[in-house]
Symmetry: C2
Subunit: 245 residues, 2 copies
């Protein structure tokens, strides 16, 4: 893991860009982590739905706030995500999904053939990143996960170090992850937008119902995909506060 | 309004029983309200679903916690509720609802003929109580409401001083209140239990959908009617913190 840049933000959070082999990532650590003798901060892995860039302003704002609350927060661009190289096939699939969503046409098949492999390729890199992050002295366990539902399901099932997860949206999730949802047994906070234009409400509610965990909470707010109210970021921090100890 | 008893709790909250004409009530005020020059505390009216007693331990625990957070909290036993006299017809209706619920039979008709009038009779007494409470120097506006969904809908529509409300359950709500749900325009926190044995899930979700307000949030947790996790009490306090200023 090589740190290639750093900046100290107004609230004391240290924001560092890193590379880990081919993986580009960002790590945010709370100001308190800099003081000598400070306990290692619990870690939250934060992924944007469907491979949006880790530099996307909404994710960055969420990550900075979460770090200011006291967590180490990390995000990466997995293969085909963010600024990583995209194949012509991927580009076409993304365009097809956008067009079909806007036209109100079914996107299941395109979604399945494109997002399914994206998730499969993302999860090993998230695990490699987790290994490297937990080797840093300022970061400890347990580990939380926040964001992209499909990657989160796969990680929660495959990775015993993930102790709690906050998932967002979840109307469209590849079949493989819908099927393994019942194997997820860690505490969950499932957040959705009631009128999410890209995520059918009933499907998201069905997914919430399907998770195997007994300790799951649903939060829903009005409005479209990007309309989540800011207080949900605080609710997410408090959720991790109950489980990452 | 006559205070008939008072006790100071460990966390400084003052718990006072009062009567207002025929209405028996309890008022909890934060310890800070006792200090001279303290600003009047915002008020939360707290009602138990379907007329359960204001002295019921779960409501009392919730009220005390909310008062310790900084709110004045009040509850009353409305006509036919709690320890107020019940007619033989009421007693029979309560027994019928219990029996039908346990047997998994439809309760709509019994519910409608019994709970409907209970709500109609309760709301004027809650408003009378509100007048008296707001006349106390230690209590100020704005006013929140927490608990019994049907009474809360009626109050939110009829009473402009109610600025925000937290509703619980809401699977069975009298027709009149289901119909006026779309007239509710204040911020709402709607809390339900995913497997509430007495409140069909889809009906509760439909009611959440029907509210006219743009600023509504749904929280759902696993388990039956009385299984709400304690952190939801904190979430409710923070919800009021955003709206009762």
């Amino acid at each position: 893991m090589h740190f290639i840049s750093e900046q100290r933000l107004d609230d004391g959070v240290l924001e560092r860009e890193f590379t880990l082999g081919e993986i580009p990532g960002t790590l945010w650590t709370p100001g308190s982590a800099a003081s000598s003798g400070a306990a290692p901060a619990p870690l939250v892995l934060m992924a944007h739905n469907n491979g949006l860039p880790k530099a996307q302003p909404r994710l960055v704002a969420r990550a900075r706030h979460c770090a200011a609350y006291g967590y180490a927060v990390a995000s990466i661009d997995a293969p085909g995500c963010g600024d990583r190289p995209r194949s012509a096939v991927d580009e076409q699939a993304r365009a097809d999904i956008r067009r079909a969503t806007q036209a109100g046409e079914p996107v299941d098949e395109i979604f399945e053939s494109f997002i399914g492999p994206l998730v499969e390729k993302a999860v090993p890199e998230w695990r490699t990143t987790l290994d490297a992050l937990l080797a840093l002295p300022e970061i400890g366990g347990p580990v939380g996960y926040s964001g992209w539902t499909a990657v989160g399901i796969r990680l929660a099932v495959a990775e015993p170090r993930i102790a709690a997860a906050g998932f967002f949206a979840g109307g469209y999730v590849p079949r493989a992850q819908r099927e393994e949802a019942r194997q997820v047994t860690i505490p969950l906070l499932f957040l959705l937008q009631w009128d999410d234009e890209g995520n059918p409400r009933q499907r998201a509610l069905d997914l919430f119902d399907a998770f195997g965990t007994k300790e799951k909470t649903l939060h829903a707010n009005m409005g479209g995909h990007t309309g989540t109210p800011w207080f949900e970021v605080d609710d997410g921090n408090r959720f991790f506060g109950r489980h990452l100890k």
